[in-house]
Amino acid sequence: MTTERARVVVVGGGVIGCAVLREFARRGITGILLEVEPDLGEGASKANSAILHTGFDSKPGTIESTMLRRAAALWPAALDELNVPFLPLGGLMLARTADEVRRLTSEIAANATVLGVSTDVLDRAAVREVAPYLADDVTAALSIPGEGVVDPFWLTRAYAEAAISGGSEVRLGQAVMGLELAADAVTVRLADGSAIHAEQVVDAAGLRADEVAGLAGDTSFGITPRKGQFLVSEEAFGVDRIVLPIPGPHGKGMLVTPIVFGGLLLGPTAIDATDKDDRSTDPAEGLRILAACQAMVPALVAAVPVRQFAGLRPVSSTRDFILRPSAISDRLYLAAGIRSTGISTSPAVAEAVVDEVLARRGWPASVPHRALPAPPIDLSGPPGEIVCLCRSIGRGEIEAACRQPTAPRTLDAIKRRSGATFGDCQGNLCSLDVARIVATERAIPVSAVEKHRRGSWLWEAVADPAPADRRGEPAEMPRSADVMVIGAGVAGQAAERAATEAGASVVGVDRRTGATVVGLSRSDGGGWVALVQSSAASAEIRVSSVIVATGAYVEPREHRPIAGGRPAGVMTSDLAWQLLRHGLRPGRVVALVGDGSVVDELSAALVDADARVIRLAEAPDALRGEIRLEGVRTADRWHDADTLVLADRLLPQAFVLRGLGLTDARPGTPAPADADGRLPLEGLWAAGCVVNPSLDHRTCAEQGALVGRRAAEATARNKDGPAPSRAAAR
């Protein structure tokens, strides 16, 4: 096996490891970063509050506090150079009782002053003025204007890609198996049998930092995980800054944090744990988070969380950051125990590590710091057809993400780079298409694409892979028509037929035939302009009326109160059908939830694909497995299964109406049509499951026909003269 040489090896591809690699590169020292997982930020860096803290409430004298203050000075330049999504929102720490007001002013504000952090105590009226969404019992608040939020995935990747642009390397899927310390170098043994002789190793392995140090015989510290669970609400309820309670006897409490790309992050909990792989969530904890956050922001009572997830923070046995050379040899430097403020402190930690290593190695410190901006994403190509429907993400954007320097290999890696699969359906409508793009870009079979960590297989090929959907180009569409019907399901087809028979010119658009309506806007001359995207182009089509018949999708696991981890192998029947049609088997032992003839059909198709099917009447309340599903629990009984297919509950697919303000961002909000199918904006109609997902086919067809006729008649009435003839329409 080969042995190569490097000046620096950084172990761990989280935010700290990547920041350290970039900082070395800025000083003109290139290195190699080794990450065991298939993507960066798969550990502590992927599940946190995403806040850039000022450190206003940190404990003076700790390394963490020092790093927070130094980072505050470094962030403006770093953010500018790294091009990461960041919002300088400010924060409000709330006080409700006289005792809390006293603590806020005499302890917390005073602490901030000692640390040099600017804060302001707001009285009740001032709080109302700046944050009318807060609960009435908030009597005062500490305003911390310097707090902000960032996208942690983007930040981690930007650090790494900036380092790559400076000549460093990032190697994913590389497990370190041994560290052999010598006087002048460290031999890093890798799982594939190769080795790297490095002049310096930095241990930034997060939750595993103690284990990596242990490879060199350093057992001077331990790392334990502290689990924090979060909820995600796509609806923001007007919250425009970070809201947090005054710390209680059990910790900092739970926060309401705007997400940089919209929506809210609620939480976290903080439970000391022992299992470094257990990222399972618990619906009871979700309820606890909701209750705590609703106490601060009452409107959250209407929140419908789209996702619950858990992160693990590495807590050191010293209860502070560990930034020092190993006791065994200074050829190994420890950057460990970077717990919940890792994102916030990353530039300062990197600076501190590199400063000390340079001094100890005697490497020239006079090299001016190079500006290493993260390379921009190349969006010069055409957007292509819509792949991720919920977020209107086109093929071109996903392909561009695949060509970034830290090329994504997994579905979750694509999600973090492009947002695809992050929307309401949680990938159940688009995962296969996304995986096909990854497979094409990497020249591997689509069955080799994994979900997240090593071994998280998604599906298996059981037949010759079917070609990708030949969506091709939509038939030549007119640039104008009387009526547009969006969706070609039962209701959409009936609407199109009825409107045509009533004399209207009709244009039908359906994603499955190659074109997607991505937006509707009012036309200057009355009526509507639909922006339609296909693989070749986008086009505007002017119509008098629009009938939305976009149907429904199966409620994904992420919206449901199901305890457990986030393994591969959990999907809805929307995805399962797509897989089977393309010669892919969703799994070997499938727990299938739901009943009725459609589910019977799916069950038979799974059996035909040599899967064993376990029929369940109700969705499970718990899952087992972190990498691939291992089992599901219903009625206190565990069933061994590597796949769960949910086919029992539909949600209306009303994404296209959000931009018009007719539905909010909560999943499951139906199109608000009246009994005649009219939506609140003139010229807009809706029919079928997008209005009521429990409708059967017959009712959808009847409703579609009714709405089609009415839309055509209304269009005719609004025109000068008689209704258009069918001949003219076509």
């Binding site: 999504p85 994403i377 806007s521 959000r658």
Partner: protein
Amino acid sequence: MSVLVRDRAVIHGSPDAIWALLEDPLALARVLPGAESIVATADRTFHGVLASKLQFLTIRADVDAVFRDADPPRHVRLEMAGRPRGLVGSFTVSVPFDLTGVVAPSSPTGSSAVVTEVNYAVELQVTGRLASFGTPLLRDTLRRQVAVLLANVDRELAERAAGRPG
């Protein structure tokens, strides 16, 4: 469309001077943030390519812009409709500007000078991918863009006053 930003700024120049700038496509190309090209296609109507930095992405968009509701030199509404390149979707921005001349009591030279108080709002409608970037990020971007626009106007007027028209 929803109003994402409402603010005001002071520009060191008279409303008439600002208005003259709006009538000049070359000057507009200099003051519109990220303008890579602008051509006048009709009276107060322009087409061009704008590059906007959305923090993590620089989005280049083909834009049609028009000044509507002109009431020289007091009020004008800038409307821009565009399609980003490489991303699916569209945007429409409407920015009504109200210009009020104010005699500044103490200019740097000690003499009184006319400055203009600009009150503006930014209304935005987005479809497709841009909508998924979220309101906070779009608001932040618009706020910065308008701030840069007004700063550019301020600088342009200063250069004109100094006899160095762009």
